[in-house]
């Protein structure tokens, strides 16, 4: 089984600990993971801002870089959703006689968000982690609605030794990040994030966990600005943890 890690540009640049945690976790589970260095960004920030044309080369790059792997694993629900939902639409308009569309069909079907890979492919929910903290899980929109992750993250968290899981009120509501939405509609975005932060603080958790660091950057930024001690942490880092420090 050849498994590639698609770390995503946000994790690569700002959250390398999440990428390292995925490697640690998968290796512990006996999976040899490869990191094709030619990988880049999935193109979501560009595409979601209406720039389809500059996105196309990134789609092509993705299909080339990850061709030939059995699984492409990524610690970002939103990037996985970009690949699986939007790549086919972008490729359909490439005007290259269907070549890109065919390449996308190949690789998109094998692109999996981390919890899908763990639960569906490896068939594990107990990954041998220990994390003795109170954790609120925030299901991000792309994980929840675009990928349909369902209870996979929850099942993984429930097996973590010492972890106390909390569900925030209005859990399924968007945190307000939305990529460039956070800047283009800053007032609404901050209002959404502030309400979400309140719900998270009310759970009494020490840690808010999610499968997307971009949402966590927004939420963590608001929590920190409000002087909250709730700290954001990617799910992978909890699952990789053995001593409770978060990978």
């Amino acid at each position: 089984m050849r498994v590639a890690l698609f770390v995503t540009c946000v994790n690569d640049t700002l959250y390398p600990a999440t990428g390292r945690a995925v490697v640690t976790l998968l290796e512990r589970l006996g999976v040899r993971v490869e990191f094709p260095a030619a990988q880049s960004c999935c193109g979501q920030p560009l595409f979601n801002s209406g720039h389809r044309r500059p996105t196309e080369p990134l789609v092509r790059r993705y299909t080339e870089v990850f061709a030939g792997y059995d699984h492409v694993v990524t610690p970002s629900a939103s990037c996985a959703a970009m690949v699986r939902e939007q790549y086919p639409r972008i490729a359909a308009r490439a005007g290259d006689g269907g070549a890109l569309a065919a390449a996308v069909a190949e690789v998109a079907a094998r692109t999996r968000e981390l919890t899908e890979f763990l639960v569906d492919v490896l068939g594990v929910t107990d990954v041998g982690a220990r994390f003795p903290r109170t954790v609120a899980y925030h299901p991000t929109c792309h994980g929840l609605r675009a990928l349909g992750l369902g209870d996979r993250p929850r099942r993984l968290l429930e097996q973590v030794d010492g972890l106390r899981l909390r569900e925030p009120a209005g859990a399924q509501e968007c945190c307000g990040f939305g990529g460039t939405f956070a800047v283009k509609n800053a007032a609404v975005s901050a209002a959404m994030g502030t309400d979400k932060a309140r719900a998270l603080v009310a759970t009494g958790a020490d840690v808010v966990c999610a499968v997307d660091n971009s949402c966590l950057a927004h939420l963590g930024g608001i929590l920190a600005r409000r002087g909250s001690r709730v700290r954001p942490l990617h799910l992978a880092e909890i699952l990789a943890s053995r001593d409770g420090s978060g990978a």
Binding site: A17, R20, A37, N48, A217, R225
Partner: protein, 495 residues
């Protein structure tokens, strides 16, 4: 004077004002959360909801594909049943037709059934200019009219008002429009409803002309359908001598049996009821029963343009249930008025730029009025993939491209002020497509770690105004990988 939507500011500015209005936000939050939970319960009762939804989308898609055919059948059958059909290419034409029809009756006032379509055309203002007074008879619409306000929700146009505000409006303004509110009116819902009932009854009994919209039009029989809760619609549709219905062409369904699907989906999605209290159906005119003259004004006003767009046309499936508004976290905080049209919330964000085109700042800003969370798509009873249409329209605003505008195939130019953003996007695309360049940019970021301000300048200010920045790490993941594992396993393409 009826207020209009002309000259409304772009979404972010209007939304930011609404965010700061604590009363408005509390009103909206209470109302939308109540209805959203009730809708979820009403929908969960039906085991075949998913199939109903698929069927509804399929019926609408088939109708839209052959809309020319079904509209002609509809016209034929309405005419055969004694009605008269008028075709209006745009809002002005529709308003001119209705004004002339009312004038021909010699009347100076009309009663109105709540209608999105006549809000869209600005009919009340047009009638007013012609010296004709239009009385809204839906309770919430009455509140809007008395307050010289604009509707902010499809179904509950006065959702932004609370009971205390409504009591004041009734007390202060009802007298100017007809029967005044009773002395000592309190804000108890039953008392407010009774005040409205007394006020409106006078209008129903006097009115000779009514104006309505319709929820559905059945092509095979020429039947129109209005679905409502208060009974004011039934009064307006049956008591006056002349009935004028202004309906968007996309409200057509081919056959009577198609209603079986929609009459299950609509009440559960909109009011969370298994069945709405009043469903009025009429086919042309009948001697001695109901209005003796019936006019149907079929409105295009940009719908054919939307229909010509492969991705955008799914928007025309909309049955105006407002489920998407009630689950939308952006609508809840921005309020309905920020959308600058009678169509607020997610459906407005995709419908308005298609009906009006994307030439001005408000319409250009609407496709961006969403975090793309997908809650709207999840609840939409006709499965409109609103996020997909939003992205499609963002592209039209930013990159331009082909679109049909007022019936003419046109190449839309990128919006002004987007040129700079376009250049930045191309530059970003170039860096991202060259991992070596990306690596250089990352290293620059890490080398300057100590220098980063807590608050960002320029466009980043919008981020750091409400949020701390995440700490910058010491090295990227790719550098860590190269340092600890060598370049191993880099396959397919070059760095």
């Amino acid at each position: 004077m009826s207020r209009t939507y002309v000259g409304m500011p772009a979404f972010p500015r209007a939304a930011a004002r609404a965010v700061d209005d604590a009363v408005l936000r509390a009103n909206l939050r209470r109302a939308t959360h109540t209805i959203r939970d009730r809708r979820a319960a009403a929908v969960a009762e039906l085991a075949d909801w998913a199939q109903l939804r698929t069927a509804a989308a399929a019926i609408k898609d088939r109708t839209l594909r052959h809309l020319d055919h079904y509209l002609l059948r509809l016209e034929e059958n309405v005419t055969r049943a004694g009605g008269t059909v008028h075709w209006a290419a745009d809002a002005d034409e529709a308003n001119r037709i209705v004004t002339r029809l009312v004038r021909d009756t010699g009347e100076r006032e009309v009663v109105k059934v709540k209608s999105m379509t006549t809000q869209e055309t600005g009919l009340n203002a047009a009638l007013e200019e012609a010296g004709i007074r239009a009385y809204e008879t839906d309770l919430a619409e009455l509140v809007v009219q008395l307050g010289d306000d604009l509707p902010s929700h499809l179904l509950v146009p006065a959702i932004h008002r609370n009971r205390a505000e409504i009591r004041e409006l009734f007390r202060d303004r009802m007298g100017a429009w007809g029967r005044p509110a009773p002395e000592g009116l309190t804000d108890r819902p039953a008392e407010l409803a009774e005040a409205a009932r007394l006020h409106l009854r006078e209008k129903f009994l006097r009115a000779k002309v009514a104006v309505s919209g319709a929820n559905f039009m059945v092509a095979e029989t020429g039947t129109l359908v209005v679905v409502e809760s208060e009974g004011n619609g039934r009064m307006c549709l049956t008591l006056p001598e002349t009935l004028i219905s202004v309906v968007g062409i996309e409200k057509t369904v081919p056959a009577w049996r198609d209603l079986e699907v929609f009459l299950q989906l609509l009440p559960r999605s909109s009011t969370a009821e298994r069945m709405n209290p009043y469903t009025t159906m009429w086919t042309g005119t009948t001697d001695g029963d109901g209005p003796s003259a019936f006019h149907l004004v079929l409105l295009d006003n940009g719908r054919s343009d939307a229909l010509a767009d492969v991705t955008g046309r799914q928007t025309l499936r909309c049955i105006r249930c407002s489920a998407c508004l009630n689950v939308c976290p952006v609508y809840e905080r921005a309020g309905g008025h920020a959308y600058g049209s009678p169509y607020p919330g997610p459906i407005g964000a995709v419908l308005t730029p298609q009906l009006r085109g994307t030439a001005s700042p408000l319409e250009q800003s609407l496709p961006f009025a969403s975090s793309l969370c997908g809650a709207c798509y999840e609840v939409c009873p006709v499965a409109i993939d609103i996020p997909e249409v939003l992205l499609h329209l963002r592209e039209r605003v930013v990159e331009g491209g082909e679109a049909t505008v007022r019936g003419v195939r046109t190449v839309v130019r990128p919006a002004r002020r987007r040129a700079l953003e376009g250049a930045a996007a191309r530059a970003a695309g170039l860096v991202l497509d060259h991992p070596a360049a990306l690596r250089r940019a990352q290293r620059l970021l890490y080398r300057t770690r100590g220098l980063h301000p807590r608050r960002l300048p320029g466009p980043g200010r919008a981020w750091s105004a409400a949020r701390d920045l995440p700490p910058v790490p010491e090295e990227s993941f790719r550098d860590w990988w190269a340092r600890t594992r060598g370049d191993g396993a880099g396959r397919g393409g070059t760095a």
